[in-house]
């Protein structure tokens, strides 16, 4: 499972082996020919792949990306995936996401609230392979559970849970326990692990739809 998806390679940047995908550069990232650096320190999904978590991406999957923000990570995902639906709620980052989408034939940007899937269920297709979730709101487990309807029977949830978005005062471990517990309503947990040293107080979660 720890094999890199087709379309992702380790390439040498400044003497270090780093993740890279092939596509139009979007945010001034270093490039090596047509490959561009995918910085695990800026991307939680990148960190999960660096940690060899079983993210279920082999290349060519259909993806729903919740919390696409400016499109930094989703641009890499679209480089090696099939149809990629990118949902983001804040207008300002979505403006940047649009320019990422313009350079990619398989990326569909949507200015929608991930807590309300009925507002985009008429656009996003069913039976998707993977949901990638990186939303910085309270109720991250609720968002994942409500969006489970888009996954196929053995579809995967790949989520980066941010402790501080749930409760800035609680111990991150307590927050993670609560979130993971709530996720079991719709998912079976495959693996969880801390995203340190790339991201502090973040838990990477891979789960399969029940």
């Amino acid at each position: 499972m720890s094999d890199l998806p087709r379309g992702v390679e380790r390439r040498s940047f400044d003497g270090k082996e780093r993740l890279a995908t092939r596509g139009m550069p979007v945010y001034g990232e270093p490039t090596d020919g047509e490959w561009r650096l995918w910085d695990a320190g800026r991307s939680k999904l990148g960190a999960m792949i660096e940690h060899a978590m079983p993210v279920g991406l082999a290349g060519g999957e259909s993806v729903l990306y919740l919390g696409a923000a400016s499109g930094t990570t989703v641009s890499h995902v679209a480089d090696f995936s099939g149809p990629t639906y990118a949902v983001e709620f804040a207008p300002r980052p979505t403006r940047d996401l649009l320019s990422v989408a313009e350079d990619r034939p398989n990326l569909f940007p949507l200015l929608k609230d991930a807590r309300k899937p009925q507002t985009y269920a008429h656009v996003v297709e069913s039976e998707l392979d993977v949901i990638v979730q990186d939303v910085a709101t309270r109720g991250q487990a609720t968002v994942a559970n409500r969006n489970a309807q888009f996954l196929s029977a053995d579809g995967r949830l790949v989520a980066a849970i941010k402790a501080r978005s749930e409760d800035v005062t609680a111990e991150p471990q307590d927050v993670f326990d609560r979130v993971v517990d709530e996720l079991t309503a719709e998912y079976e947990i495959v693996e969880t692990r801390s995203l340190a040293p790339f991201h502090d107080d973040h838990l990477g979660v891979v789960a399969v739809k029940r």
Binding site: A101, V123, S126, R164, S165
Partner: protein
């Protein structure tokens, strides 16, 4: 149960309608939309469907972004100014009504809530009719102010998530209104944010007639008002500093950053501990 794709009932050539469907449509559940679009004759094949989907989602999202970005902070500014006008007018009119009503009824309470309830009485004379009609105007102005407040509470989190979380929706809207917009607020130094709304005191100070004001409208924030007097200046400075950071994040990124709120909480706790701990 509705389960309809965005392409259903619209023509692929009618871009206005397809864009509207992406922006405002909904469905209780997803479906195999690419397949259904081909079956419905909307797309020649699934490859074409994805091309159509891409151009319509990009265009719909561009329009939605523009609407949200242009509309939001100015809507908030108008709403908060209108709310303050309604509140002020309701209170002034309530005083006038109570004064008049006192000549016609016993035990007239001059407070706004009491005057609002006068409107329920049944008038017996032409003079009473006039007074009670005035009272019902007070009541509708106050109701209007309440509905403007809930509009602000609903809009502020999307327009300025960090200001909203830090200052509450109404104070967030007031700060934006005083600065003349979110962008203008984001560009102000925190010393200016600290005294927004205290312009009279500030100009008196600049003319050499008074000491510099410690706080403007942010006085209404619990972190300033609830801090003992001797440390209020520090609390106001700390709050204004984080508020201007919040405004910048809201304007330039638009994402909620819980870290800055936590930092402010800690800072205020430290400032208050100075008083609580006596001469620390």
């Amino acid at each position: 149960m509705t389960q309809q794709g965005w392409f259903e009932g619209v023509s692929p050539d009618d871009s206005d309608s397809t864009i509207d469907r992406i922006r405002d449509g909904d469905s209780d559940a997803p479906d195999h939309w690419p397949k259904r679009a081909v079956e419905a004759g909307f797309s020649a094949d699934e490859e074409t469907y994805y091309e159509q989907l891409r151009s319509v989602t990009i265009e719909a999202t561009r329009q939605a972004v523009k609407t949200r970005e242009q509309a939001d902070d100015s809507q908030l500014v108008h709403a908060v100014r209108a709310m303050d006008d309604c509140d002020r007018t309701a209170n002034e009119l309530a005083e006038r009504t109570a004064e008049w009503a006192g000549t016609l009824f016993d035990d007239v309470d001059p407070r706004l809530e009491a005057v609002r309830s006068l409107a329920e009485k049944t008038p017996q004379t032409p003079a009473e009719e006039q007074v009670l009609s005035l009272a019902s105007q007070v009541d509708s102005l106050a109701t209007e102010a309440e509905s403007l407040r809930s509009f602000i509470e609903q809009r502020a989190p999307a327009t300025a998530p960090n200001l909203d979380a830090m200052a509450g929706p109404v104070l967030a809207a007031r700060l934006i209104a005083l600065a003349g917009g979110l962008e203008q607020l984001a560009k102000k130094p925190s010393g200016t944010v600290q005294v927004l709304g205290a312009e009279d005191a500030l100009f008196a100070h600049l003319a050499g007639r008074a000491s510099s004001p410690k706080h403007g409208i942010i006085f209404t924030h619990e972190y300033v008002r609830g801090t003992p007097r001797e440390n209020r200046g520090s609390a106001a400075r700390a709050l204004a500093g984080k508020l201007s950071i919040a405004a910048r994040i809201d304007h330039y990124s638009g994402e909620l950053k819980p870290e800055i709120h936590e930092e402010l909480d800690e800072r205020i706790e430290t400032i208050r501990a100075r008083t609580a701990g006596g001469d620390k």
